[in-house]
Amino acid sequence: MKQKRFDLAGFAGRYKLPLLLVLLAALAAVPFLGLSSYVVRVFCMVFTYSILTISLNFVTGYLGATSMGHASLYCVGAYVGALAATRAGCNIWVSLVLAVLVGCLAGGLLGVCTIKLSGSYMTVTTLAFAQVVTMVAKNWTSVTNGTLGIKDIPKARLLGAELTVRNGGMYFVGLGLLILCLLFSSMVIRSKYGRAFIAVRDDELGARMMGLKTRNYRLLGTVISGALAGLAGCYYAYLTGYIDPVTFSFDISMTILTMAILGGLASLPGSIAGAAILTVFPELLRSLDVYRYLFFGFILVIMMRLRPQGILGSVKAARYTLPKGVLRPAAAMEQGKEGT
């Protein structure tokens, strides 16, 4: 007997187009509702984190390598954007392009460092990478202005008009970037590259046997991830007008990872849902500020217990069962625990 459950992902899949249009219309209307600029700013942060979560999903969701240092790529993007604006006088669009390019490079560097590694080793290397990036940002004072951070990043402009949170300009920039990211990501994921990523995640050896150059794909995944994170970082720099190394701490890396998992790994709508929940929820809890991270912890624990695949992640794929008597070590482990 199979219990019938409401499958959110299935429901969303069936009514995709109307749902999307309604959502878009609703989102486009938000700045005109007369909400306070604080609320609009929260929306902007949701866009930033959504892009970051999508970008992390390329590494963690589609390539299956847990990254605990994603804030590093975010940091690189933010600094590139901020420096391009304050030192070179670039406008936001040029900065964004620069941030994406440098983000690619940073992602590629991380990819080269981790290409031989797997599992925990890969995870801890991403963590180490992030710590090194933070150290550089803190101590390379002549460029990054050290712990004081970069102040007075000019406002974004479009056709002479200033784009701010208050007039909704930054909101639309963020929304536009997010939509661009979504389009790009879904295109990549449905292409042969996306399928190759998933093959590498599910069985790297098998993928290699099928003739995939798995290392190239892993590198490509981190490069894409770096590009998107760079984009988010640059947008963030223009949004707040001030960045410092503390903004891109380990906690941010973990928050992004948690968003990806909460929403559902390897799911683009899930990324957005995860980012939205974990950005909005702490804001709602602001009055209970001291309890904020306590709640955060409980959400993680309870969520993992009740719905480990994430809110929008579906458990569609039946697990491949090995022939009788053959057990993967991990499976053997689980069964061992069940038997006790």
């Binding site: 599992g119 990478f129 090194v132 150290m135 101590n139 790994l265 991990a330 038997g339 006790t340």
Partner: protein
């Protein structure tokens, strides 16, 4: 000056080693990165504070008290959070996120109970200091080295020469087969968590006695560095973790002398980077660690 720094680095390394062993123990048996270990270490330090400052216990009862409570906390994490997940057959990453959640819970509970400011910790094992060839050695430093050596020695004996240790090694190889030959897998896993909690409590107590400070975020960086140390030595391998911990402590102290304090923070990670580039499975790690996190 240099020899003093190296000695200080050695002391720091001992602490990292104690913490790294905690990561390695749990990883060896569950293939799980126990991200809550840093928070458990903080909990150990606060339990020490509770015993020493609030309940006015002596040094030895305080340590025992901290060990007991911290071990209990760790068992609770295992029983309440991880065991149900294992029985569901949850993926490794699910457990990873769960323990991260647990670490937030522990840290913030401590913050709510004890406050977010840095609290003074009483001096422990203060019998004065002496000099050995220009190196100033305090009694707490001697104690740290002694306790580390004794504890790690005991741990080595337990894992290599007792039935429990044999069972632990069995489970790390094949839990199902271990269960079939009559090993109480649940108990052994709980035992592993108790031991790792005890190590964390002792490390926490020693560090807070050394710096005479406790604060609720003290476990974050220390935990991450110890984690790096464990991976550096080859995670899951106890001797590797010890070497990794001491190596990182020493390098950090040397980096402080050569590059200045602000760069020493990232030394652990830079070394880790370099080692993993050359030997992807860590210094003493085996290449066939079959695990997906």
């Amino acid at each position: 000056m240099l020899s003093q720094q190296i000695f200080n680095g050695l002391i720091l390394g001992c602490i990292y080693a104690l913490l790294a062993v905690g990561y390695s123990l749990v990883f060896g048996i569950l293939r799980l990165l126990n991200m809550s270990h840093g928070a458990v270490y903080t909990a150990g330090a606060f339990m020490g504070l509770l015993g020493a400052s609030y309940l006015h216990m002596g040094a030895v009862p305080t340590i025992l008290f901290a060990m007991l409570l911290t071990g209990a906390v760790n068992v609770c994490i295992n029983r309440a959070v991880l065991q149900p997940l294992r029985e569901q057959g949850a993926a490794n990453i699910t457990m990873l996120i769960s323990v991260t959640g647990v670490s937030y819970i522990i840290q913030n509970t401590l913050m709510l109970v004890f406050g977010s400011q840095k609290l003074p910790f009483p001096k422990v094992f203060d019998f004065g200091s002496f000099r050995v060839g220009g190196v100033l050695v305090t009694s707490i430093q001697v104690m740290i080295v002694l306790v580390t050596v004794v504890l790690l020695g005991a741990l080595g004996l337990i894992t290599k020469h007792t039935r429990t240790g044999l069972a632990m090694r069995c489970i790390s190889q094949n839990p199902k087969a271990s269960n079939m030959v009559g090993i109480d897998v649940r108990w052994i896993i709980s035992f592993t968590f108790i031991v790792s909690g005890i190590c964390a409590a002792i490390a926490g107590y020693m560090v807070s006695g050394y710096y005479q400070l406790v604060y609720f975020t003290m476990g974050t960086t220390a935990g991450l560095k110890a984690f790096a140390a464990a991976v550096l030595g080859g995670i899951g391998i106890l001797s590797g973790s010890v070497v990794g911990g001491i190596l990182i402590g020493l390098c950090e102290a040397l980096a402080t002398v050569v590059f200045g304090g602000e760069y020493s923070e990232a030394t652990a990670y830079v070394i880790l980077f370099l080692v993993l580039l050359i030997k992807p499975s860590g210094l003493f790690g085996k290449d066939d660690v079959d695990e997906k996190v």
